[in-house]
Subunit: 380 residues, 2 copies
C-alpha cells in the first residue's frame, strides 16, 4: 500500500484568517468565539453522546433537547430536529410525506439541492414562473396556475416548495402569498430557509409554513455540516415515524443525525444568532450602500431592487472590458482584490459575480467598496 | 419570544479531558493533535468549499480528491465518497441498488442503523442465525439458508449485509465466508465496518466486498459526524448516479455530504490511522489482558473468546450482589470509577456493561484493571 500522507499534514487556510471573505455561502457561517470554545470540548468523534439514552434530540447533557425546543420558538414552529443541512431536511420531508412519482411544485429560483432531493426521493417536479431579466422574482400566482395544471391532468401533488431567499440573486420571496395558495389548495408547504433562518427574522406559523429547512453552515454561524428541520406538529407522525425494529429511532433521521461538533457549535452560536437577526435591517442597509456605491463604476446589480438580502449579484461589463487588455486576463480582478486582502470572489470571473458583506463592520464595508473603486479606476 | 440562552454558554465536557473514557463508541473517535490543528483552520461553516468547483469529493484545496483515492487504497476498494457516517453510507447503497420491497439479508448481530436504513428505503429483511449464549457468533452458513429460503418463496433479494464487528459483543465476523456465499449467489455484498475500518486492517477486494460503510467518528479518529462509502466500480453507475437537472451532482450524496470540518479532521488523522492499524495486534493483546485479569473478580466475558476486537462485554453478577447492600445501589460502580478518574461505563448498570481500552497506554490499561479490582475487593 503506497500512500504518501505528507499532503494531509499542516493543511492551512489563510482565506478567513487573513482576508475579508465576500463569498455569500460563507459569510453566514462564520462562527463566533463562543462556538470556537465549545469545539475544543467536543471535537472527539462521538463526544456529544456521553450521556445519551438513545436519541440525539433528547440528550440533556449537553442540553440538545432544550436547544431544539428553543429553536422551534425562534423559528415559530412546533417541533425541530437537527439534520446535516437544509438539503437533508428537504429530503427527509419529501421521502416521508410524498409517494413515488408525486409532483413537487417549486419556484423557478429553487436551489439545485431541491432537485437532487426530489430526484433521490423518486419524485417529479413542476417549476413555477419567475419574472424576466433583470429582477428574476418568484411569481406567487404561478403556483396557483401550476397546481391547477397538475390537478387537471390528474397528477398527484406531494409538496409545495418555496426557496425563501435564492442563492443566485438573493431575492426574498413572498412567502405569505405562496403559503396562502398552498393552504387554500390543501398541500403541505416547505420553505427552504438556507439563506434566511439565522440571518433574518422568520415566523413559520405566521407564514403558514409546514416545514422549515435551515442550514447551520450557511446562515446560522455553525460549523458544517449542520442544519435543522422544523415541522408543524400536524406532520409529526409522518415525518418522525419511528422504526418497527428499534422503536425509539426515527427513520428519516436514520436514528441520529448531527452526532458531533456541528450541532454543538450551533448551540453555542444561538445567542449570537438571536442578536444578529434583530439587526437584519442594518445588514440590508450595508448591502444597499454597496450597490449604490458600486453601480456607478459600471457594475449592474441584478435581482430585485432595492436589495432585501445581503446576497448581491453584479453584472460587470467593465471587468470584461478591462480583462481584454490586462495581461492577467480575467484573473486581474481576483488578483487585485487578493493584494488588498479581499477574497471569496470566484477566480477569473468577468461577466458577473456574487458577493456579500454580511456581518462585516462598516469600516470593512467601506474598505471593500473603496478597494473595488480603486481597482476599476486604476485599470479602466 | 422568550428564550434564555444562558444554558448554552460555557458548556464544558470534562469526561475526556479529565477522565479515562472506556465507552466503546468513543475510543476509536478520539482525535490526534494533527486533527485538532486542522479544526482551527476550518471551523467556519462552509470553509471546506473555498476552492470548490461543484463537487466536494473533487475539491483539490484542501486535497479531498486525493484523500479519497488514498482511502480507496487503504480499504482495498475502487471508489470512495465522504458521507455523514456508516448509517448514511448504508442507506445510500440500499436506496440506489434495491427496489422497494426487496429483501436485505443481514446478520443477527446487525446494528440498529442497518434496520432504520432499510426501513427508510422501504425494504424488507431476513435475519440470519447466530450462535447461542455466550458466544453469539454470526453463522456464515445461515446466509446460504436464508437466501435459499427467500429464493424459494420468490422474494427478491437486493443486498447481503454483514456487520464486520458488532457493537454488542465485539465479535469479528467471518467476512470471507459470507462474501463467498454472496458472490456465488450473485448478490451485492455490503460490509458494515463502523467498528473495524480505522481500527484493524481491511482489504475489501480480498474479502469479495462490494461496499464498505465506514465511520469516521466511531473508528477513524475523526470529529463527528463523518463517514465513508467505498464501492466496487461495478456499482459506480447505480450508486453514484447523477442528477438530471444538475448533471455534476450525485443523487445519493444530495450533491455534497460532509461539507465541513469532520472530513478535514479525518484527512488530518489519516497518517495516525495508517500507523495505528498496523498495531492492531497490540490492541487485541491489551484487551485480552483486561479479560484475563478481570474475569477472576467475578466478571464473565461474553461474545467470542479469546477476544479479536477491543469491545468487551462483561456479565457482572458480582456488581449485582454488591448493589444489593451498597446504599448507592447500582450506582456505586459508576461513582467509584468516577472517583478514580474513569468514565464511560453506563450509570447504574450492574448486570452487565461494555468497555474498551482501545488506544490507551499500557500504564492506563493497568490502572483501569487495578481500579476495578480494588473497587470489587473493597466492597464485595
Amino acid at each position: 500500500m503506497d500512500i504518501n500522507t505528507d499532503k494531509y499534514k499542516n493543511i492551512t487556510r489563510n482565506l478567513e484568517r487573513e482576508m475579508i471573505n465576500l463569498n455569500p455561502i460563507q459569510r453566514g457561517g462564520i462562527i463566533p468565539t463562543e462556538a470556537k470554545k465549545i469545539i475544543y470540548e467536543y471535537w472527539d468523534g462521538y463526544s456529544v453522546c456521553d450521556y445519551c439514552s438513545g436519541r440525539l434530540d433528547q440528550i440533556e447533557t449537553p442540553p440538545i433537547n432544550e436547544f431544539l425546543e428553543d429553536m422551534s420558538k425562534f423559528l415559530g414552529m412546533d417541533i425541530t430536529r437537527p439534520t446535516h443541512g437544509a438539503r437533508e431536511s428537504k429530503y427527509a420531508v419529501m421521502n416521508s410525506i410524498c409517494k413515488e412519482g408525486d409532483y413537487v411544485v417549486l419556484d423557478g429560483n429553487a436551489h439545485y439541492t431541491s432537485y437532487v432531493a426530489l430526484e433521490r426521493a423518486k419524485l417529479n417536479y413542476e417549476k413555477t414562473e419567475i419574472e424576466e431579466y433583470p429582477t428574476f422574482r418568484v411569481i406567487p400566482e404561478s403556483y396557483a396556475e401550476k397546481i391547477d395544471l397538475l390537478e387537471d391532468s390528474k397528477k398527484n401533488i406531494g409538496l409545495i416548495l418555496l426557496t425563501h431567499v435564492d442563492g443566485n440573486y438573493g431575492n426574498v420571496a413572498d412567502v405569505e402569498k405562496v403559503g396562502k395558495i398552498a393552504k387554500s389548495k390543501g398541500y403541505p408547504f416547505l420553505l427552504n430557509c438556507a439563506y434566511s433562518a439565522g440571518r433574518m427574522p422568520i415566523d413559520g406559523k405566521k407564514l403558514n409554513v409546514d416545514f422549515i429547512a435551515a442550514s447551520g453552515h450557511k446562515s446560522m454561524a455553525a460549523s458544517g455540516p449542520c442544519g435543522l428541520l422544523s415541522i408543524n406538529k400536524k406532520y409529526e407522525d409522518e415525518v418522525l415515524e419511528t422504526s418497527k425494529v428499534n422503536v425509539v429511532k426515527e427513520l428519516q433521521m436514520l436514528g441520529c443525525t448531527s452526532r458531533g461538533i456541528p450541532i454543538l457549535s450551533l448551540m453555542a452560536s444561538f445567542e449570537h444568532l438571536i442578536e444578529r437577526v434583530k439587526k437584519w435591517d442594518l445588514e440590508v442597509e450595508k448591502t444597499r450602500k454597496v450597490v449604490n456605491e458600486l453601480e456607478p463604476l459600471g457594475f449592474n446589480q441584478i435581482g430585485e431592487k432595492p436589495r432585501n438580502h445581503d446576497i448581491i449579484r453584479f453584472e460587470t461589463p467593465i471587468l470584461d472590458k478591462i480583462a481584454e487588455k490586462d495581461k492577467r486576463r480575467g484573473f486581474f480582478f481576483y488578483e487585485e482584490l487578493k493584494k488588498r486582502g479581499i477574497g471569496g470572489i470566484r477566480r477569473g470571473v468577468t461577466k458577473e459575480f456574487k458577493m456579500s458583506v454580511y456581518g462585516l463592520t462598516n469600516v470593512q464595508v467601506d474598505y471593500v467598496i473603496n478597494s473595488m473603486k480603486s481597482i476599476i479606476n486604476e485599470l479602466r
